[in-house]
């Protein structure tokens, strides 16, 4: 960076970098300059004219007031932000902004937190000199998340720039000109981007507000509680705005290293699920006449007795224990401690994985491989099996920045992922992904360890493989290349092989390797030891227990399900439901009642959901982020760690004397003090054969849509109404559809082994040939089998058939 210069603002001497804008320096110095269009994350528009200041350079005053947001500083510049001239200019702008702005603050949702209101307090003249008729602007329906009141718009264009620059889709525009300029979509279509809610924060006035929050509270009635977002591995820093023990809305908290100033719509609007009718509010027990409410004391005794009986009668190995990877670190730690205290071994939190052949080779504490912010600096990234915008919206945003700065982003996926930046995509059906990777490995000159040699040598490398390999190599040599594995890779029956190849490519190109942990605390689960082959601190287990899938394929006599809906949160719902239904005892600790839980469980224990308990999440980058509960759980529901503590005590296990979540955190942290995430594999990955579809079958691609990822999101009504949440359907490549005699809209029955479900067909060449994309974790998908696995498709003759 070039040398520092000195400037003077309001008489204060400030250091600045040449070329910085006045407003940047002023902000750093805490000198406030009013502004509407300027936003540090957006390009400079300089159109609102609110930040006008007086300036002089080299003793020569600028003839006109200059916009602080767009005027670069020069050495020795003197700036007056509150001189008579500056204030007059600012007042003038304020008056213009207000003449056509409705004075409806008392009914405006932005009231109390409106930038226009705030600034006008300081500048506005009381008596309006504007006596002409005010402009009225028609509203547009932007969909279920964003409410509009466009008459209030002050045309700062922040929302338009957000779309073009951050989201990468121009949904909003400024049409018309002069005073007829209007912000909107022009054609009234629903905005459909996973970060769209950020324009609510960006809008300085009440033109764009939150639809779910609308008219529910006033800003000054809310208290803000800091928290950590629970739906992906970013760990976005958020604020929960609470009134009367209820979360009313969610806002981002700035954290440059993690979420900058953004949050995903999923993190912003999922709070609605907290108040869903499906919340479990009292312990329930299944009797002969169905479900009945009970009290904690008796139900816990009943559970403790039940668990002890299974251990006594059949051995602790007959206990299966599955925990959602979005549980808190404290829950995961106590959960495994309880099971292991009983002598059990079968615990897992990798619920959407089916190939565990790599367990022995896997790094002890897999992670993203680099700090989140460093994603932007990568020059080449290969994404394997990841629909990253749906899985980790803000990581996708970082990658987009890298791509716009010229990075190569290559993707090997079962379908073409919709991105808003240039990319090189190699869509291939699930069984063919390994071949694509082998082709890249070959182009990168990877020799291949003995077991992969054949695969790589026989791979068919084309131009795109070569381009990707070359970009990775070049970036690898400069230390900014990355190979990332995502949720679709993890769900693959070839996960071990994909990992083996990913490591090969990384080795051959000098790139780093990274994992996209699927949930808010997947990384934490490894620290906490909520895995069959890892103890707390990721220490190895002598005799590993059964993994998540094996617990179901080799059914146990008793199960504890933690935060899990069997129909939606496990990789093979049909098999899961069968195994659970056959068990003697199923204890479900859950925040939500769901049909599949009610079908298979014996007791339902209400635990707190996100925002209702304190805890810790460890994000993809290995950051431990603690948070406090902001509201009480509903009814008799209790924080999960307390339930586990009481149960531990009832079972007379040692080490359950914690007074607070903090104590639990500290106990685990002590065991992890010398542990850091590290992606070095611990052994060579075993290489089996690839799972290619047999003749006459397609390979199901069961991606988890963005708003299906966990129970809280699935219970959030506004998110469920967005265009991003699609109902159950089968997507087919046109060639496959033709071969099957199917057309868009046809109704089909899909069979996975004995499991069956009916759904409509969508034909799209985004999907690779040989694949059949059927989303997982959406209503109706619970009847089906593995997220990725062979399916048979048969047309259902219905009325539309002649």
């Amino acid at each position: 960076m070039s040398d520092k210069i000195t400037i003077e603002i309001d008489g204060r001497t400030c250091e600045a970098a040449p070329g910085e804008m006045i407003i940047t320096v002023a902000d750093r110095e805490g000198i406030s300059i009013p502004r509407f269009c300027y936003h540090e994350k957006l390009s400079i528009a300089a159109n609102c004219r609110m930040c006008l200041v007086e300036a002089e350079q080299g003793g020569r005053p600028f003839p006109k007031p200059v916009p602080a947001c767009a005027t670069p500083v020069g050495d020795g510049m003197k700036v007056q932000t509150r001189s008579r001239k500056a204030l007059d200019a600012q007042r003038g702008t304020m008056e213009f902004l207000l003449i056509n702005h409705p004075l409806d603050c008392p009914i405006c949702d932005q009231g109390g937190e409106c930038e226009l209101q705030d600034v006008s307090m300081g500048y506005g003249e009381d008596v309006s000199r504007f006596t002409e008729r005010k402009r009225v602007v028609k509203d547009e329906d932007l969909g279920p998340l964003i409410a509009t009141e466009m008459t209030r718009c002050i045309h700062c264009t922040r929302c338009v720039r957000f779309g073009a620059e951050i989201a990468g889709v121009r949904e909003l525009g400024a049409t018309g000109r002069g005073e007829d300029m209007r912000i909107g979509t022009f054609v009234a279509h629903t905005v459909a981007h996973e970060l769209s809610g950020n324009i609510i924060d960006l809008c300085p006035v009440g033109a764009l507000t939150s639809k779910p929050y609308r008219f529910t509270a006033r800003a000054w009635e809310l208290t803000a509680e800091p928290s950590i977002a629970p739906h992906d591995a970013v760990g976005s820093n958020i604020q929960l705005h609470v009134r009367n023990g209820r979360v009313m809305r969610v806002h981002p908290r700035d954290n440059e290293a993690i979420n900058e100033t953004w949050i995903s719509d999923r993190d912003r609007f999922s709070y609605e699920g907290l108040n869903a009718a499906s919340r479990l509010t009292a312990p329930m027990i299944k009797g002969d006449s169905g479900w009945a409410e009970t009290d904690w004391q008796s139900v816990l005794h009943w559970v403790a007795d039940g668990l002890q009986r299974v251990v006594a009668d059949s051995g602790a190995d007959q206990l299966g224990w599955l925990m959602a990877p979005g549980s808190t670190l404290e829950e995961l730690y106590l959960g495994q401690k309880l099971l292991r205290g009983l002598g059990g071994r079968n615990i897992d939190s990798r619920l959407r994985q089916q190939d565990f052949s790599g367990d022995a080779a896997d790094p002890a504490l897999p992670w993203l491989g680099l700090p989140i912010a460093d994603l932007e600096q990568q020059r080449a990234v290969l994404l394997i099996g990841s629909d990253i915008r749906q899985e980790q919206p803000l990581l996708a945003h970082r990658l987009r920045k890298a791509a716009l700065a010229g990075a190569m982003v290559g993707l090997v996926n079962p379908y073409r992922v919709e991105l808003t930046h240039p990319s090189r995509q190699l869509p291939a059906a699930p069984g063919r992904l390994a071949a694509e990777l082998a082709a890249i490995a070959k182009a990168a000159g990877a020799g291949g360890r003995s077991s992969l040699k054949g695969l790589i040598a026989t791979a068919d490398s084309g131009d795109v493989h070569a381009e990707i390999a070359a970009a990775l190599k070049q970036a690898g040599a400069d230390g900014n290349g990355l190979v990332l594995l995502g949720a679709l890779a993890e769900a693959s029956p070839d996960f071990g092989l994909l990992k083996a190849l990913a490591y090969q490519i990384a080795d051959a190109t000098g790139c780093r390797i990274g994992f996209l942990p699927p949930a808010a605390n997947s990384t934490g689960a490894a620290f906490a030891g909520a895995l069959p082959h890892r103890l707390p601190g990721a220490r190895a287990v002598d005799v590993p227990g059964l993994d998540a899938l094996a617990q179901l394929t080799e059914p146990r006599k008793a199960y504890v399900l933690w935060g899990i809906d069997p129909a939606h949160d496990l990789i093979d719902p049909a098999r899961a439901v069968a195994a659970l239904a056959g068990a003697d005892l199923v204890v479900a600790c859950t925040a939500f009642r769901t049909p599949s839980l009610e079908a298979v469980a014996d007791v339902l224990l209400p635990i707190s959901a996100f925002a209702e308990t304190s805890g810790t999440f460890v994000n993809a980058a290995g950051d431990w982020q603690r948070f406090q509960g902001a509201v009480a759980p509903p009814g008799d529901a209790r924080p999960g760690w307390k339930l586990l503590r009481v149960l531990g005590n009832m079972l007379e296990l040692t080490g359950f004397e914690y007074a607070s979540a903090r104590d639990i955190h500290d106990a685990l942290a002590a065991q992890c003090a010398d542990r850091a995430p590290d992606n070095t594999p611990r052994a060579e990955y075993p290489v089996g054969t690839t799972a290619e579809a047999a003749d006459g079958t397609l390979m199901r691609v069961g991606n988890v849509p963005i708003y299906a990822v966990d129970a809280l999101v699935r219970a959030a009504p506004a998110l469920q109404r967005t265009p991003l949440s699609a109902p159950l359907h089968l997507q087919l490549h046109p060639a496959d559809a033709e071969a099957l005699g199917l057309q868009d809209g046809d109704q089909v029955e899909v069979a996975q082994g004995p499991a069956r479900a009916c759904m409509p067909v969508h034909v799209s060449d985004d999907l690779a040939r040989g694949g059949g994309r059927i989303p997982a974790a959406v209503p109706g998908s619970g009847q089906l089998g593995a997220q990725i696995g062979p399916i048979r498709v048969a047309k259902v003759s219905g009325e539309n058939d002649q």
Binding site: I44, A45, A46, N47, C48, R49, M50, L52, P63, K64, P65, P67, A70, P72, A89, G92, T93, E95, F96, L97, I99, N100, R129, F130, E132, I154, H155, T157, A174, G176, R177, G178, E179, D180, M181
Partner: protein, 429 residues
């Protein structure tokens, strides 16, 4: 009387109307001589720019910025594409001169642009012509075709290794696209919203590359300046005000027309050339440089010469050289309301003061004109205009403000009369 009319941009005017615009006609007056010389001799661009500086040619688009100086800002030998862009958007009310250059002497503009490209290191040029100019566009395109066919445009011209490609880009009805950076945005396929400066076009212009934008008349003047020398051009006008200039004399005159006369020609002479005030009426006022500049009362104007510095002394600006003549008996409220309507209609809408303020001014004036004015309106107008001027991204804000302030300064009594009596002091337009 002015002797030397039509010596620069209008030097083909004496030719037969039917063939005036053709390549042959242009060659017959010595056209393309300078471009061919440049291609044959490959002179140092710096010497050409020096010649221009000596000529004191000032931008004819309105701002009057010295053209030679503007060209010298271009990083001509820096790598990367550079562009020369001609501003034929001609939308300033009262101005109709560039249209006639395009219609009657298009080749001279082409030659000027080619030479400009050579001087600033641009191998590509665009001529942005307003979309309504169907006939002038056709003429210019025809001339482009002739020039390409004659090997005067294209690649490796006359074996010199010099490339120059020239294209037309058409507007579609937006005055603001005459503002140079709005014009660039428009070429980039966007709304014509002016860009904030810095960066200036010479640093980052069209497609982010260094770009020079000049008015049609400025560029069309270049071949003659190089042919006859910078000193000759300077001598045609006054110091710091080189050359002849086109004046569009319109409004209340008997023979409105474009006149190419030396800068410094007295206004009264120009008025005489235009046949004097219509119907023998007395001169009331003149807007001497296009609708954006302050109005000057007739008596002051009669003692003012038509050059940048003299008109500035008279309290106005030469602007685009559009001289709008207003006869006695004209209601000045009506005139101002018309101007205010124009700016409100043409504001691009991005800057708050311009978007909100121009509409406000226009509505208040409309109200006054229709007999619903209030005494407080006049101070309001003056004050609102003051809050627009100097506070916007582009000069449209100033253009909207200046007429208001100057009309109130000189003709306040007419506004007061209308407010008080509900009808204008002067009945005619």
């Amino acid at each position: 009387m002015v002797k030397d009319q039509n010596t620069v941009c209008f030097r083909t005017m004496h030719l037969k109307e039917k063939v005036r615009h053709t390549l042959d006609s242009y060659l017959s007056v010595g056209g393309y001589g300078q471009w061919k010389r440049v291609l044959n001799e490959r002179p140092d661009p710096a010497t050409l720019i020096e010649e221009l500086k000596l000529s004191a040619l000032r931008g004819r688009g309105g701002a009057g910025f010295p053209t030679g100086l503007k060209w010298s800002f271009m990083p001509r030998s820096a790598p990367g594409q550079k562009y020369i862009v001609c501003n034929s958007d001609e939308g300033e009310p009262g101005t109709c001169k560039d249209r006639d250059i395009l219609r009657w002497n298009p080749h001279q503009l082409i030659e000027g642009m080619a030479i400009a490209g050579y001087c600033i290191g641009a191998t590509v040029g665009y001529n942005y012509i307003r979309g309504e100019f169907y006939e002038p566009i056709a003429r210019f395109d025809e001339a482009l075709g002739e020039a390409y066919a004659a090997g005067l445009l294209g690649r490796d011209l006359l074996g010199s290794g010099v490339d120059f490609d020239l294209y037309t880009h058409l507007g579609a009805g937006a005055y603001i696209c005459g503002e140079e950076t709005a014009l660039l945005e428009s070429i980039e396929g966007k709304k014509g919203q002016p860009r904030f400066k810095p960066p200036f076009p010479a640093q980052a212009g069209l497609y982010g590359q260094p770009t020079t934008i000049n008015n049609t008349e400025s560029l069309a003047s270049v071949p003659v300046i190089l042919e006859k020398g910078g000193q000759w051009f300077l001598d045609q006008g006054r110091p710091n005000n080189g050359g002849p200039k086109l004046f569009s004399v319109t409004g209340h005159v008997n023979a409105p027309n474009n006149f190419e006369v030396p800068l410094g020609t007295p206004f009264w002479e120009l008025l005489e050339m235009a046949g004097g005030v219509k119907d023998g009426k007395a001169l009331k006022a003149v807007i001497p440089g296009g609708s954006s500049v302050p109005v000057v009362p007739g008596n002051i104007m009669m003692n003012t010469d038509m050059d940048y510095d003299s008109i500035a002394k008279a309290g106005s600006m030469l602007g685009s050289g559009a001289v709008i003549v207003i006869a006695e008996g004209t209601c000045m409220v009506r005139v101002l309301a018309n101007l205010a309507h124009f700016y409100a209609h043409e504001s691009c809408g991005q800057c708050t003061p311009c978007r909100e303020g121009t509409g406000w001014l226009s509505r208040v004036l409309h109200r006054i004109l229709h007999g619903h004015g209030r005494p407080s309106d006049l101070d309001l107008l003056d004050n609102v205009a003051g809050r627009i001027g100097g506070r916007t991204i582009c000069a449209l804000g100033d253009a909207a403000a200046m007429p208001v302030q100057s009309f109130l300064q000189h003709y306040r009594h007419e506004f007061e009369h209308l407010i008080e009596h509900g009808r204008p002091m002067e009945q005619a337009a």
